[in-house]
Subunit: 318 residues, 4 copies
């Protein structure tokens, strides 16, 4: 076996982190014949005193990623999963406290929503009060996100969502923009505005001593505000709509200090039907081509006054 | 330019078809301030007297695929989109009737469902009765499917869905199976049963002279029956559940003669927590690992007595 | 527990099949310090006397899909993997022979190619002849396919590939096509022709008594012929190119009786640069927009004279 | 139309950027009958004096994203595409210089590699020296990446790659790690080590006055060093392999100051074949299960001494 020690190299190890990504855990809770479920995808990332494993391959400070996976399953059983955020806090605290070389733990969670399948109206009616309620259909809309980071003393919780696709079929204009020699786009006073919302929001909560936000309710409320602000904004640009969505969350939800939104402009182009003797006017109900690529991409942070921006600006690698 | 004529080759041209795939069309209908929308992905496939284009490259019989795309958009404007099936019938008839060399047209459609975003409770209340209703969020659950085939005289309509993910957290067993020398699976009397429903169903309707089924209502009812049969079946095998789902549709919906279902068994394995001193019993609410691959794959056709099986048996290439 | 027996229903069970899909098996072979590897994704599908499990849930005839997975791994160890086809034949024969209720086995295999990473020129040179050769990089081009079906007496082997993307930057024209009222496409005498080849080819080999084709060499040769026929055909339509590709295989490879090709026309549109005072002529080397959707889709079967068409016509669900 | 002015809100606009993402441009260059091609996916992101468009929807400072798309195509024609980096530099400079409100431009590029299809040995041989060479097959291995950022005075170029899948079938161990109460993983002295390399490397080059690196050669060399360092490292942990890969680049390529690598541990688990009476020892050539999820994820930065770390630590959102 080759031996490696840190060579006299002009090479420095920078930030590093490791852990098990995408542990898929489903927790069922039974309340008599009524079942509940939580369906998560948990990624653990640890960092700390890890120089030696990089230089020599010594694993003396390395808790195996397989162990972090086991911990996710064991904690789901021992403590249950109240919310993604609470579960992530529990995990992050464990790794930082129990492992001396680990100075920082970051837990990222995707959550998939399910809704109940309603009891068959064709089946014989149940005799007792304890109707079976253990059947679910996956909701399939957005994926909920949570990221919990703990460095031993302070906490940061960033929640969010992705893949929430929305569309306004009117009340969107685009005109008055800069025209240079490469500009050919005609102005429009009635267009479709569609996007796939990707958002992250940072909680003001920063430690165990403070009362925790109501994570589940907070998510539902923020999701509602994002949808309503999108729907309710008469839009002159997607930037304006984005700002209204972020500002609505900051104004309505005291627990949130920062919102980052990444909104692809999912273009719906009016099809030119003139060659076929057809008018395709928006006022009459038009036909659109839903394009894939390229697409506009609008991204911004909206902050509570006095708060620092801490969410990374790139939620995408494009 | 090279000239090609059919060489004296021991080579025969067999079945062939061509057309434009995945034309993404969105049709908005305005009813005052209330908008409706249809969001389709339309694939046209034509066949007929097409030997020459294969042998020599002569396009004298070829309607360009670009034209079939244009036709999709023009028809959406001229005739609207009542349902995917009605729209597909309209298109298929057009190609077969208007193009002498085309003997058969097959239209495949994916439909994406949207639901309304409810009006903001934070915005000023609307003054009139004509509340703006033009904001939508994509439903994101299953994709609806329709395939319409016309050979000039007879019709075949096969509708369906894919990507509908369902789960029963109990009332599923698996035991009493064959054991050979490679069998290690333990029997179970309480497992999670989850699948991603992919289904196709063939209508008895076969021509223009007959009254058409109510396509939209038919879809909603069949979807409901599939969900309820899945939920209501105490399952000893996924095959049994599949059969109950298909049979329910045949029994409850007179317009359907054949159902094909492809059900991957999305395994949820009980995690072994004994090494950590934890019991993980289903009766107490257990923790599961949701596996990706491999997965069981159960497929079957369920037919109305006296009907022929015409849906291809492979809805997947795996 | 609910009891189910076959009810007096007007409902018939049609074709059905089951098995474990997507078992990912990697087999390493060591020849001293030189390693070889086979990387497969194996899907087993069994059918036979399976009515009872659908009607009542009795698994008395059901070999668990988990067992079919175990068999894949055990056979990889016991017999090795010479080629995807040989491995599939071995598996199919086993299931049909060893399980009385199983009358037909179909094995589908995806194979991923790897190539060696060349020894570092920076490392110290190896001292002996036995240079370590155990490092690989995934080739990443097409995925190789094989489907083996056995009903106990006769065999069918269909091999193929998918995701092989090719492009000719000239020697492609498109003109002389049908124009109807929805046709707007201009004719062209110099276009890019690009496609993503999906192909299946059926071997004449139909049983154990005959000498088997040389599966590995056959694949390499057919792949070469497809590429060369694509490159060497001056194309007036993608149909013509497709036919030349299929015919080349039939003519050059005696072991093949039937080829099915599915060729999406990956459109590369000339960008209109006139608004910016720029010519964008193909003769000078042009700029193209590589479109995603929609796309033409050209599909056909090419047969050896006297052979029957047995490959299903739809390799795609669009 | 609703009017919006910046309300007296406790809400601040933070970092923001916008542009057209994923413009797919293919540029053909003709050198007689020999063609060359560049196949890019270009994403433009601009920022600067953009408060007003967020607050009021005024687009007076907004160059439309459609214009940035047009610019990509026009520049490809006017100036050609020597390399992704050079093309990105050209674009970035243009936006910052030509648009007063734009203070910073970031261009991200994905590049897809193609290789020539060799001339058919079956076709008639070419008569002249000018053999047609216009046929290509997509290489399909990694995707090359480039990111160019310009704020008007200084430049940053980060290149990289993703989706490069590599495997060592031996010379990898994992033992001597921390064991806590959740650790069950057995130690191993001979395992498969496989990963899908995602890497970014930052050039020292920071401005127009300096001589530019040879972008194409730099990429090829760094790719080679990553592969050889992976292959040549006897590994006691994936962290050690990662460090060797990064350090090799720093040491061998003077133009690079920083490397960030994200390496998923694509687990290949030894299958337990003992229940079937089979040994599955690595020394004999073993059978492995290639797992999908979860997977270890190892990430680190390797720096040239004296350089600052500037590449974001998260190349993934998991």
């Amino acid at each position: 076996m080759a031996e490696h020690t840190r060579p006299a190299r002009p090479v420095i190890l920078g930030q590093n982190q490791y852990g098990k990504a995408e542990t898929r855990v489903v927790k069922v809770t039974r309340d008599g014949a009524t079942h509940h479920l939580k369906d998560l995808n948990v990624s653990v990332s640890l960092s700390g005193d890890m120089e030696e494993v990089h230089y020599s391959g010594s694993n003396a400070h390395v808790l195996p990623t397989d162990t972090t996976k086991n911990t996710v399953y064991a904690f789901a059983k021992e403590y249950g999963i109240e919310s993604a955020e609470q579960f992530g806090i529990h995990l992050a605290r464990h790794f930082v406290i129990s492992q001396e070389p680990i100075h920082r733990a970051r837990i990222r969670i995707e959550e998939y929503a399910w809704e109940r399948i309603e009891a068959s109206d064709a089946d014989p009616a149940p005799l007792g009060a304890d109707v079976p309620r253990h059947s679910f259909v996956r909701k399939g809309q957005e994926t909920r996100l949570a990221q919990i980071t703990c460095d031993g003393s302070s906490w940061e919780v960033v929640s969010g969502l992705k893949d929430l696709v929305v569309m306004n079929t009117t009340d969107s204009e685009f005109w008055g923009y800069v025209k240079d020699k490469y500009t050919t786009l005609p102005e429009t006073h009635d267009r479709v505005l569609a996007t796939e919302v990707s958002g992250r929001w940072r909680f003001g909560w920063s430690g165990d001593e403070q009362p925790m936000p109501a994570w589940e309710k907070s998510y539902e409320e923020i999701r509602k505000h994002l949808l309503q602000a999108f729907a309710g904004t008469y839009s002159l640009s997607l930037q304006q709509t984005l700002y209204q969505m972020g500002a609505r969350v900051i104004e309505q939800r005291d627990e949130i200090d920062e919102v980052r939104l990444s909104l692809p402009n999912k273009h719906h182009f009016l099809v030119d039907l003139e060659p076929f003797g057809l008018k395709n006017a928006t006022a009459d109900g038009a036909v659109y081509f839903a394009a894939d690529r390229p697409y506009g991409l609008i991204e911004a942070t909206v902050l509570r006054e006095g708060s620092a921006a801490r969410i990374p600006v790139d939620l995408t690698t494009l």
